[in-house]
Amino acid sequence: MVWKDLLVERRSKETLNALFFFGLLLLFVFQFALGPDRERLAGTLPGLLWLGFILSGLLGLGRTFVVERENDCWEGLLLAPGDKSAIYVGKLAGNLLLMLVIETILLVLFGFFFNLDLTNVLPALAVVIALGTVALAAVGTLFAAMTAQVRARELLFPVLLLPVEAPVLLATVKATEAVLVGEPLGSVAHWLKLLAAADVVYVAVGVLTFDFVMEG
């Protein structure tokens, strides 16, 4: 599933291109809105960073099962014998890879647009981003499957996803805020534990319920 999804994406480049230009546009808007005031920027940067990740994530995750609508491949997946949770794990892995690529690009662009040197905080920031992205992708993949066959999926998907992601967002923004001002990861251990727990719970729920979601 991962091999197929990445191959299709590499050839079509639909999601990657869309997310790249969306991210670029978002950064332009942030840059115009905040201007060069570094003090104001320091206070809002963690939120902006995760706003960028979340909005790109919504766009990318929402497209997870678009490729399966082509020639009714969704029906083909349904007919495939075997544990459907393997499809979930494959889709989740593909989404994780795609999101991490986009987040890396966004991070580099953030540094460039706002003239930030993130080199010193990069390892700690990577831990926070990885933990937050797993939770986002786990719920996003499951909800993308739930809304894949619904007519108002573009509306329903963020309405379902964002409330469930609220605790994850809170934890990631708080942890990112601390990391960006140079605090060690130990000082935000409670947020990291919450993120790790959310990752485990969300992935487990996805694996256990995906069969029911697919069978409708």
């Binding site: 599933m1 091999w3 197929k4 191959l7 299709v8 050839r11 079509s12 490729v67 082509e70 020639n71 009714d72 491949c73 029906e75 083909g76 997946l77 349904l78 007919l79 495939a80 014998p81 075997g82 069978e215």
Partner: protein
């Protein structure tokens, strides 16, 4: 017929809201047998196939494949069937060979390059093995869809108008393939609108009308005109 019934449908009913599509369908298809289901548009042919393929749950009645209940043992049924529906279930941005590899792997098969090449050669797509499906005609996509079952070797084939979109050569190949599938002990249930050559593979003809099987008869020596006459009598006069 003495052989086991690989497909068994009894008292099958399916309603969508207030609309009753199937209302008491009874039908058996035995090993080594092919049954063609004829019916007008909206008669419920595709619904019947989808119930047997575990994609739609029946409202009432029994549908089994190889002894497994389609509603309760969907997983076991799926291991026995091959469905060729109107959609081809192929990814446009993958090549023919990649599509075959993906679906075979998902079905738990481990086809070698030779298996894959053989399946593509069987449906005469070997020269297009590395071409992206986006460049294929509708007929080529259908042939690729059929190649999946050359690899998977199911016991039961469910075919929804399988000859549609195929050229004469592909139709001939499909006839031969279905004949050898039957000879190997497989069961075939197919829907069709055609009264001609496409029925050659069928041992029995069932006419679906008014939500039930209005006629179930051996094809025997029935000519296309005979079938057309029976169809007019049973299907077109149905409520």
């Amino acid at each position: 017929m003495a052989s086991e019934a690989l497909i068994r449908v009894a008292g099958l009913r399916k309603t969508f809201g207030n609309h009753r599509v199937l209302d008491g369908v009874d039908l058996d298809v035995h090993a080594g047998e092919a049954v063609a289901v004829l019916g007008a548009n909206g008669a419920g042919k595709t619904t019947l196939l989808k119930i047997l393929a575990t994609l739609v749950r029946p409202t009432r009645g029994i549908a089994t494949v190889a002894g497994h209940d389609c509603a309760k043992d969907a997983e076991l049924v799926r291991r026995q069937i091959g469905l060729v529906a109107h959609s081809s279930y192929v990814y446009e941005d993958l090549t023919a060979a990649e599509n075959l590899t993906f679906w075979a792997t998902l079905a738990g098969l481990r086809p070698t390059a030779a298996d894959r090449a053989g399946a593509l050669a069987t449906v005469e797509l070997d020269r297009a093995a590395d071409a992206r499906v986006r460049t294929f005609s509708a007929g080529m996509k259908r042939r690729l869809s059929l190649a999946r079952f050359v690899l998977a070797r199911p016991r039961v084939l469910l075919l929804d108008e399988p000859f549609t979109g195929l050229d004469q050569r592909a139709k001939k190949w499909l006839e031969e393939h279905l004949a050898s599938f039957k000879a190997g002990g497989g069961a075939i249930l197919m829907t069709t609108h055609s009264f001609g050559r496409e029925l050659a593979v069928a041992d029995r003809i069932a006419i679906l009308a008014g939500g039930a099987i209005a006629l179930d008869t051996a094809r025997g020596a029935l000519s296309a005109d005979d079938v057309h006459r029976l169809y007019t009598l049973h299907a077109e006069d149905a409520p």
